[in-house]
Symmetry: C2
Subunit: 505 residues, 2 copies
């Protein structure tokens, strides 16, 4: 490798990936840590991403008949206790409200007062509180299916946090449905997984493997958990959407009963499914580079920045005139779910272009007197190198912008898919498997790791063994995995198909 | 008065207004109380209203340069303590998080564990936590103005709650801005009040008086508080939007400082402004009638319901075919910020029409074999009586629906304005003032009360006196109040203008 060019983000990915991630979050102005332990502040550039994601997903949910509602942020402890596995899963990490006012302490300052008879937890997820409502809303099979979603904040008290990836408070949507029979509930579970797959592939430009979790990785209280798994640039897996078939577990816990067409009292079958602001972490980790954030155009906070260049005062009014006219024209163009969003950066400081590269905007357009004279503008694309600019006709640009953005969107997806393919291997020997996941055991540690498609006998012991030895888990059993006889990578016992092993976030 | 017709809601408004309100919330399926004290469940029909309100307001905010962001739901107690009036205003009603996990108690059940070093409160409003961020984001006058909004949930622990009007948790938006000088901050305060006024008048069909609060009614910590006051059908006032000029109070509390163009270190000037799900309560109380909810078309959860009528099985497929075709055609029509939303109710139960009247949908359309034969449909409008239906051409209807909806929107606004005018009086004598606000002292108690435009000397004592005697407060000093010499309605001292007195929610 030749002399490394200086990059806008330091350290580079290959130097210190976790620190590179923190720096990308910072220089792109997406978010920052707050003074409240583990909670983040999502800044406007980051929140705009979330708004775009919400808007697209929300329309997709509604197209399947789902309606939005809103349930309390607080859950009485006794609700959580109703489902044994569920409480086991969340009791260790929930914020507990015990008082309802503050009063002045004798030595000054304020202390909690007004103790609650029953403490409340801040929702870590809402199966139990929504189940309570469902139990009142459902009395006959005619009331089913119930298809409800809520967009809200949730709190899971995390000890080790990382912005977007793992925070004590995060934003998400949680869908909750109830059905008259098992088959329909399972169909809905898989339907919503498909919605997520379409969204993640088409809007976030992320290739994913669609699969089922092993029992040890299921949502607490679920019968089956399905997921999407994406590969980040450090070759770790990140879960990019999850959909749970809850069977009758939560219906029994919450008393969601209905009179069937045959006039029998039956428990409903429920599902839940969600994605969170963690997906912003996935976008960063999958697409960004050593110059900062790279945003897929479909959900980008803005599509294009115009950079007027007028070194001489005399040029300024003409350059600004052309810039504003172009902004108006671009702003009238429709791209997917919204109009083209345009930023104009007319600061007279150096390094404007680099600021926008770091922020990941898909297109940068320089407009100077010479460009204007030629009826052209200089276009820089974020999927190409920072110095790789091309002249494009001023009038042609608004006509071409949609196809250019589509090209970038596709280029990001293709690059991520190539990357995943390059780092997905089928491994059948235990030694090779251990080498793959142990950098010091192979000659080129920079290319170790990724997804290993290997056989697994189905036992929790073998799963626990690789987790303990290597920090590797089964990410999922791919839904399209072929039947293939083989031997478990750990114990050698017979296996019917390969599963996806990886280190994960 | 003749024999009262039976109405869909019982009691009627004139029988028991507070109970009528609860019944409207219930029969319209907007929301319900939750098992968590004071918290509500917003059901899909109610949440759709909020979504429409959000969408319109959000676009209006953004058009003024405001950007959305998100800040933590938790606020450390020491932040609240920074502004003395602010803590005074909120300490008595906040949910306090003191622990971060649950553990099993000896006798079974779960108890709070993992005490926090410093308790956190669940945000009742976010001036202090957002101020902390602003203090980091601002260093030069070039960083100003900062124009930020967040959509979120907030918690104020209320002892007496009423759905939408006063709940322990509610949804709202809170705008927060910082400016380099006082004049610009004041302009922004009034600009956002104007945005609210336009929104409330045009989207919610609510006439409002725009005014300034007296010192005793200000937001805790504000220099000036501006508000919109609307009249409900029980002639009480309801605040429908509020905008605060915070001076440098919160900038000093949070350390929001910047270097001015003259290179001096100065404190910024800040504003905050918000509206909440309380506006849904305002819509109910202002427009609904004894048959249930009446929704302004601009923000209605849905615009029109199609009611296919096929008593003979032989008619069914033809009727459904026409119904679905009409639904498709209507769904393609644009009305204000969105497309026409259509519900089809093909249940074979009686009382379908009444269900939709109670839910407040602007238009009901019956489609039967006879209508089809005549190329017509039967149209019922929610601003008219339940039996007042008219035949309208099947093909003409999609062309006319926008103007019909506009007519209804205008009719609701006009009716509310007439009502307010009828119950707004200028009172100059203390006796008449006391009579006006005391039902038992006048002959026709059903028409007592409303807005009294009366003189006030400016003293907090006189304000406190009418509050104690009558439960009446000064809702605002109208911004367009004319200078007019008079005598204070309480003490008789000179006054320079009339203010708006009323009982209030």
């Amino acid at each position: 490798m030749g002399k490394q060019e200086r990059t806008a983000v330091s350290p580079r990915r290959d130097e210190d990936y976790p620190e590179w991630y923190q720096q990308v979050v910072k220089v792109s102005d997406l978010a920052e840590n707050s003074p409240v332990r583990g909670c983040m502040v999502i800044k406007p550039w980051g929140y705009a991403l979330w708004e775009n994601m919400k808007e697209i997903l929300d329309a997709m949910f509604k197209a399947t008949g789902v309606k939005n509602a809103y349930f309390p942020v607080f859950i009485p402890i006794r609700f959580l206790e109703k489902e044994a596995e569920h409480v086991e899963g969340f009791a260790k990490e929930c914020a507990v409200v015990t008082h309802h006012r503050l009063e002045s302490a004798e030595g000054g300052g304020l202390v909690p007062a007004g103790p609650l008879e029953e403490p409340l937890i801040v929702r870590p997820t809402s199966e139990t509180i929504i189940g309570e409502s469902f139990s009142k809303w459902v009395s006959s099979y005619r009331d089913l299916p119930l298809l409800i979603n809520q967009w809200c904040n949730v709190v899971r008290w995390e000890m080790r946090t990382r912005i977007f990836m793992r925070t004590s408070e995060f934003l998400w949507q949680e869908g909750h449905t109830a059905h008259a029979d098992s088959r329909e509930a399972m169909q809905r579970t898989l339907q919503m997984l498909d919605v997520y797959e379409t969204f993640v592939k088409e809007a976030l430009a992320l290739p994913v493997i669609k699969g089922e979790k092993t029992p040890s990785e299921r949502f607490p209280g679920a019968v089956n958990t399905y997921c999407l798994e994406a590969m980040m640039q450090d070759r770790k897996a990140l879960q990019a959407g999850t959909s749970h078939f809850l069977g009758q577990n939560f219906a029994k816990a919450s008393g969601i009963m209905f009179q069937s067409a045959k006039e029998r009292q039956e428990y409903a079958w429920t599902t839940s499914w969600g994605v969170s602001t963690r997906l912003i972490g996935a976008i960063i980790m999958a697409h960004s580079d050593d110059d900062g954030l790279v945003l897929p155009p479909v959900i980008a906070s803005a599509h294009v920045v115009l950079l007027p260049i007028a070194k001489k005062a005399a040029d300024r009014s003409r350059v600004m005139e052309v810039t504003r006219a172009l902004a108006r024209e671009l702003g009238a163009v429709r791209y997917r779910h919204r109009r083209i969003t345009v930023e104009i950066d007319d600061r007279d400081t150096g390094g404007r272009g680099w600021d926008w590269i770091k922020k990941g905007i898909p297109l940068r357009v320089e407009i100077g007197p010479r460009d204007i004279a030629q009826g052209a503008v200089m276009l820089g694309r974020r999927d190409r190198g920072p110095k790789d600019k091309e002249s494009i006709g001023r009038d042609a640009f608004p006509k071409k912008i949609v196809s250019i953005l589509d090209e970038i969107q596709q280029a990001l997806f293709d690059r991520a898919l190539r990357f995943r393919r390059a780092h997905t291997v089928s491994i059948d020997a235990k030694d090779a498997f251990y080498d793959f996941f142990t950098p010091r055991r192979i000659k080129r540690p920079e290319i170790h790791g990724g997804f290993s498609l290997s056989h697994w006998c189905g036992s929790a012991q073998c799963e626990a063994k690789v987790k303990e030895d290597l920090g590797v888990t089964i990410r999922c059993i791919a839904l399209d995995a072929q039947d293939e006889r083989g031997s478990c990578i750990v114990c050698g016992k017979p296996s019917a198909r390969r599963v996806v092993f990886a280190k994960a976030y």
